[in-house]
Symmetry: none
Subunit: 260 residues, 2 copies
Amino acid sequence: MRTVKQVATAAGISVRTLHHYDAVGLLRPGHVGANGYRYYGKEELLRLQQILFYRELGMPLAEIGAVLDDPAFDLLTALRGHRAALQRRIAQYRDLIQTIDRTIASLERNEMMEDNDYYAGIAPETRDRWEREAEAFWGKEAVAAAHEKARALTKEQVDHIRREMADIRDDFTQLFRGGAAPGSDAVQAVTDRHCRWVSHSWTPDAAAFAGLGRFYVENPEFRATYDDGTLPGCPEFIAEAMAIYAERSLGRGNSRLASP
Amino acid sequence: MRTVKQVATAAGISVRTLHHYDAVGLLRPGHVGANGYRYYGKEELLRLQQILFYRELGMPLAEIGAVLDDPAFDLLTALRGHRAALQRRIAQYRDLIQTIDRTIASLERNEMMEDNDYYAGIAPETRDRWEREAEAFWGKEAVAAAHEKARALTKEQVDHIRREMADIRDDFTQLFRGGAAPGSDAVQAVTDRHCRWVSHSWTPDAAAFAGLGRFYVENPEFRATYDDGTLPGCPEFIAEAMAIYAERSLGRGNSRLASP
DNA sequence: GCTTGACCCTGACGCTGCGTCATCCCCGAT
DNA sequence: ATCGGGGATGACGCAGCGTCAGGGTCAAGC
């Protein structure tokens, strides 16, 4: 029989959380003393473990209660729904990140041009505000599309290319986190996709592709792109994979890109 | 001068939102009529566009207010911080998705094997402890990978595998009782079967296979399984056989598992 | 037996960004 | 005069606790 604090510290949660779970009927103490103290036994601790597990999955408390109290509850469906929701959120966040990147880029451009202003007569602030307003007004998609059009590419092409790059980047980071070896089949497969992607605008040979990898390592912008700020060493990992790929698949003239 | 509803429908937000923004001082109407009606002019509309833009980036309203009201505010830093936060969230969600996948997999496996499940007769607590020990020993990734592999098996396959394991265990105990040497041909033949058996869910190299032997010795549950309580020293015997096997047949790259 | 400090309890408000009533006022059209 | 479509101001709700505030309880040392 443990008191609230003992349980809380053991489980890594706060006393208030236990109070809350008691209040909403999610986890009742096994015993309540005459003084009103809550005491938890083994059974309650086990239940708490389960609660915390599902909570970590982002499941709302009410749903957790339903799962634990009703064995007929369709947990599988609930989990799948949860998974889908998480993926939607991830996709949404990725879009947001792209928008932020564009905003940052435009801000930096403006700062860079502050001194020797190319656009004499127009204050950078104003121009910047214009762009943001335009984006807010027509939607970032539309503005982006307009910019891309100027580069003589169709929207679908651009979209496709962007998505492909995002995919590749995600695959790389995930493999890196999973501890995959740069020379492993999985990593090399992604590197192959990357090489094909690069080939949209450029046809690298072995040396050039390996050089691009080194460029990723040395260039802060690219580091930031791949590194995620949370995965130090990921650019090096990618560069290594690219070097291996260059030697294996691009070296000695056995280019896979000769016949696309 | 537009009324709340006009602004709201034009901007795609609710009237309540405008009220809220007014209440928190984020967006004040340009004019307020004698009757209390809010009227918004062009300036306010522009400000609203900016507000909505930053809101879409997931920025809290208070911060948006700071950005718009204080031109000295470090927008770049704020945006970068935001980006990092979003990426952390994405990483977190990806971890959650992985956990969910594992949970779903285990649930499906259990449903598939309702009666005779993998860990029949073993208390969930014990099972969990096993799993944690196994994870500590080989790492989470390896255990998770083994689980994935296991979940793809049909019921008959599982039955077959279990029977095979029982046979192997019997052979081991019989040989041990008969005083066979761990390096003898008979014992090594059984060890070979054992290695193949293990390979159903895992592909060990020499070090890993020998490590599994030590795991059998050190882990009480496995001791109990092999030991039968009547044959002290049997786990050590098996571990020794496995170590020898590992060196002879798995070491120096002459792996039999390279071409299964 | 008394003080002290560590714990325990029960409210109750706060936070985020509005959605959703409820209640009442106002304006133009009929 | 009346009616319908806005408009306004509270106020509660939500999700999951954090964070006081105010007041008992317990074990230990003096």
